[in-house]
Symmetry: C2
Subunit: 83 residues, 2 copies
């Protein structure tokens, strides 16, 4: 079966996010002053073949741990949907 993994990789809460801070300030300059605590990470989608949803989740988790996320600085979560 074909599945689609939707992965979010975000900088850990404990760490500064300079890119998010810069965007926060830019939004304030554009007049959107009610915005706070902007954090910027990655969103990754990928298609994968797997026998069932659990196997797809296991493969996605492996991909995140081995390559996609740097777990020293980033956390990841994902959802799996059928393609």
């Amino acid at each position: 079966m074909k599945f689609i993994a939707h992965i979010n990789i975000m900088p850990l809460k404990e760490l500064l996010d300079p890119q998010g801070k810069a965007v926060n300030n830019s939004l304030h300059n554009l007049g959107l002053t009610s915005v706070h605590n902007v954090r910027i990470g990655k969103h990754i989608t990928m298609e994968l073949e797997a026998a069932d949803k659990d196997q797809a989740a296991a493969k996605t988790s492996e991909a995140c741990k081995k390559l996609l996320a740097n777990q020293v600085m980033e956390s990841f979560d994902f959802t799996i949907t059928e393609a």
Copy 2:
């Protein structure tokens, strides 16, 4: 009220995504050969003050259009949750 916006910004389907292609090949090299069509975009979270959910959505949409997404090359979608 406080809301949190969860924004996904992805390259348009019609466009090549070289970063995604590179990650796709790297995943194959790591043995995850069942993975295809990797696409990489941005995931942004931000807190915002608004009177209600509709107003929060309007502000988030404005932020995406004015600054966060380049609509020539990227599409965006978001969900709003209460903080």
